[in-house]
C-alpha cells in the first residue's frame, strides 16, 4: 500500500466531512474554503468533485467560503484555488468514494476491486443490484481522517475535467448579482487612499484635521506618506481624498529615468541572473545584443 503525501489543504483540514457531505436523500454537498470572484472556480471545483465521486455535475451542491462549515484554506488568490484547493478536493473526494466503494462491496458481497461507480451508482456487473450514494450514506462515517491511500482516478477516466462546462455563475452575474466585495456590513465605512503625486514623493505637511472636518469623514490615517480616509457615504470619501491631495504639501524628486533611457536603466540596476532553459541561451544573447 503506497502512502501518498496528502495535499497541504487536506493535511490542514484532515476530516473528510469538512469537504464532502452525502445526505441520506442523496444530496452531494461539497465544501470549499475559496470564493468565486469570477475566476470560474465554482464550476471547475464542481467538475473536479463530480468526476472524482462519479456523480453527475448537476448533483453537486457547492458551498464556498462559509467559515463556519468550510475547510480553512487561507486566502483566495493567485492560482491556488485549483492548484492547491482543487487537488485537496480531488484527494478528499477520492477518499470518500473509496469509503463508499468499501461499503458497497460489503453489501454486494464482492471484492472492492469489482465495484464500479457510474453516475452515482455502485454495482458489480451490468444487470446486477445497484446501490446509490443515498443507500450507503447512513453506513459511511465521514467524520474520519483521510487514509492517504485513496488514489484519485486516472486522468483518462475523467469525464468532466478538461471538458467545456458552462459556468454556473454567469446567469447570476450577467443579470447583476453582487460580487463578494459588494457585501455590506453593519456600520461599514468606505475608504480611499490618497496617492502621492509621484513615485517617491514625500509628504511634508498635511492638515489632517481639515480633512477630518469635511462632510461624512469619520477617520483620517496618516502614516509617513500614506494617507487613508474613511467616510460614509462613499462619495464623501472620494471628495475628501481629492481635497486631501491638494491640502498636502509634497516634496517631489526626479528619480525616474527619461523614457528614452528605459532599456539601459533597467539592466544597470542591481540584478540577479538565473538560467531558465539552456537551449534558449542563444536566443536571449541575441535579444541582449
Amino acid at each position: 500500500m503506497n502512502l501518498r503525501p496528502l495535499p497541504p489543504d487536506l493535511q490542514a483540514n484532515p476530516r473528510l466531512d469538512r469537504w464532502v457531505g452525502i445526505g441520506s436523500g442523496g444530496t452531494v454537498d461539497v465544501f470549499i474554503g475559496k470564493v468565486e470572484l469570477g475566476q470560474g472556480i465554482a464550476t471547475a471545483l464542481t467538475q473536479i468533485a463530480a468526476d472524482e465521486l462519479d456523480v453527475p455535475f448537476t448533483a453537486v451542491r457547492l458551498t464556498m467560503g462559509n467559515t463556519d462549515i468550510c475547510p480553512d484554506q487561507g486566502v483566495t488568490a493567485g492560482s491556488w484555488s485549483i492548484e492547491y484547493g482543487g487537488m485537496a478536493l480531488r484527494a478528499a473526494c477520492a477518499e470518500v468514494r473509496r469509503l463508499f466503494v468499501r461499503e458497497a462491496a460489503l453489501r454486494l458481497g464482492v471484492e472492492e476491486d469489482a465495484v464500479k461507480v457510474e453516475d452515482g451508482k455502485f454495482y458489480a456487473m451490468p444487470g446486477a443490484p445497484v446501490l446509490s450514494y443515498a443507500d450507503l450514506a447512513a453506513a459511511v462515517d465521514l467524520t474520519c481522517a483521510p487514509s492517504g491511500n485513496a488514489v484519485p482516478k486516472d486522468w483518462r477516466s475523467r469525464k468532466l475535467c478538461g471538458m467545456k462546462v458552462p459556468r454556473t455563475d454567469y446567469r447570476g452575474k450577467l443579470c447583476g448579482a453582487a460580487y463578494l466585495h459588494d457585501m455590506e456590513l453593519p456600520g461599514m465605512l468606505h475608504a480611499r487612499v490618497v496617492r502621492p503625486p509621484s513615485y517617491s514623493a514625500q509628504l511634508i505637511r498635511f492638515d489632517a484635521d481639515a480633512v477630518r472636518a469635511m462632510p461624512g469623514v469619520e477617520c483620517v490615517v496618516v502614516d509617513g506618506r500614506f494617507i487613508g480616509i474613511c467616510a460614509r457615504p462613499e462619495e464623501d470619501a472620494i471628495a475628501a481624498a481629492i481635497a486631501a491631495h491638494g491640502i498636502g504639501t509634497w516634496e517631489e524628486s526626479a528619480d525616474l529615468p527619461e523614457e528614452t533611457e528605459g532599456q539601459t536603466w533597467m539592466s544597470s540596476l542591481q540584478n540577479e541572473t538565473s538560467v531558465v532553459d539552456e537551449s534558449s541561451a542563444a536566443i536571449s544573447d541575441n535579444v541582449r545584443g
Binding site: 470572484l37 469570477g38 475566476q39 470560474g40 458552462p166 459556468r167 455563475d169 454567469y170 446567469r171 447570476g172 452575474k173 450577467l174 443579470c175 447583476g176 448579482a177 453582487a178 460580487y179 459588494d182 457615504p233 462613499e234 462619495e235 472620494i238
Partner: protein
Amino acid sequence: MRQPIRLSVNGAECGVAGEPATPLLYVLRNDLQLKGTRFGCGNGACGSCTVHVDRRAVQSCNAPLRSVEGHAVTTIEGLGRPEAPHPVQQAFIDEQAAQRAYCITGIMMSIAALLGRTPAPTDAELLEALNRHLCRCGAHLRILRAARRAATLMGAKR
C-alpha cells in the same frame, strides 16, 4: 448640500437624498443596492458602470444626479432577470462571453442601447459602441460573437 431628489430607476419612482453633483453610480450601488452597476474606475475610463438614461448608454460615474432627474434610468437589473434574461444577456450566456464578467454588465448595456437604435449593426458599429469599454480578461472575441448573436436573437423577436 444634500437634498431630496426624485429618480426613475427600472420603471420605479424613488426618492434619494444626495448632492446634485453626486455621480449616479454611488446612489445606484449604495442607496438603491443595485450592485449590477459595477464600480470599475470611477473615472469614466472603463465603462463598467454603464447604464441607460432614456435608452442611451451613459457611464453612471460621469452622470451627476441632477442630470438624470426626470429621465428614465435603466440598470442591468432592469434589463432582464436570471429567470427571464434580456436577449443580450441570453446571448452572452449562450456564448459564455466573459471570464471574470465584472465588465460585462456595462458592456451589455452598451450593446442593448446600440441594438435599440440600430437593430442590425455592422462590426464597425459594434466596435464603436464597445470602444468605451475595457475588458482586461481578454474575452473580446467572445464578446463580439455574443453581440452578433444578440442582434440575431432580437431580430428574430421582431
